[in-house]
């Protein structure tokens, strides 16, 4: 379970623009030993190209899904 957006950015090779001074994508991720990773971020932040790239690596879910 990754709750630090710095670590999510590192894990998925992505950068964001949600907060000043640091290029972090506000997001969570779950990386499993086996099976697909899941990336929890607001899908409206993703262009089709970026979404396509990330969907090859992980399931893309909405942040609110994390708690359900």
């Amino acid at each position: 379970m990754i709750s630090d957006p710095h670590a999510v950015a590192w894990t998925f090779n992505i950068r964001g623009s949600d907060v000043p001074h640091t290029p972090l994508p506000i997001s969570f991720a779950i990386v499993r030993r086996e099976g697909r990773a899941a990336l929890y971020l607001d899908g409206r932040k993703l262009s089709n190209e970026v979404r396509h790239h990330l969907e090859a690596l992980a399931d893309i879910r909405e942040p609110d899904d994390l708690a359900t």
């Binding site: 950015a9 894990t11 964001g16 949600d18 907060v19 993703l46 992980a58």
Partner: protein
């Protein structure tokens, strides 16, 4: 100049602080069983820079420093800030509501021990505290004979009606030539496993 990265009008500071603080104890919330509430300057990720939609401390108190927290009880309230913000806190916060407490000399847990009564129930939003932090608060409450109560959804978010929307910053791919490691579908990021990660109990 203050170290503020938020524009007060964007985070809904239009209502006077006394109204914002008292809204936490609107009759329907008081029935929900707490007598106090703690607000950290934190988002769900413990980010150093939080988006306007997470500036709860600034919304509640007016204080826009980069670190701090507030505790609101029925009869009194405290803003905790460190030495960098002694002057700023005094200027920004209504001191007729909030006592300004030096958070290095008297951290929130010590203040809780000294100021909570045995019947008090201190509410907190579990999304905004680390597990260590919540444990410290719980211990302090127990020492005072009081109880720490997790509340999700947060009553503060419920009364923050002009809360800004969360940011929608565009995500970009970080080119592999800057990142040094390739990604594959089975391993978003292959690298040495952190010893901390191996010890993580969940």
């Amino acid at each position: 100049m203050y170290k503020a990265n938020s524009n007060p009008s964007r985070i809904g500071l239009n209502a006077p602080p006394v109204r914002r603080a008292s809204q936490l104890f609107a009759p329907n919330w008081r029935a929900a069983d707490w007598t106090g509430w703690i607000v950290p300057r934190a988002d769900r990720h413990q980010n150093e820079y939080v988006p306007d939609s997470d500036e709860r401390l600034a919304w509640l108190t007016g204080f826009t420093g980069s670190a701090g927290s507030a505790i609101v009880l029925l009869e009194r309230a405290a803003l905790f800030a460190d030495g960098r913000y002694t002057l700023q806190a005094r200027d920004q916060v209504d001191t007729s509501i909030f006592e300004i407490v030096h958070m290095v000399e008297t951290p929130p847990d010590q203040w809780i021990e000294r100021n909570l009564n045995s019947s008090d129930r201190l509410g907190y939003d579990p999304w905004l505290h680390t597990s260590d932090g919540a444990e410290r608060l719980a211990k302090a409450c127990i020492a005072a004979g009081a109880t720490l109560v997790a509340a999700d959804p947060s009553p503060l978010d419920a009364v923050w009606i002009d809360r800004p929307s969360p940011p929608l910053g565009v995500v970009t791919l970080h080119d592999t030539r800057f990142a040094a490691r390739r990604q594959t579908p089975s391993s978003p990021r292959s690298g040495p496993r952190s010893p901390n990660c191996a010890r993580t109990p969940w």
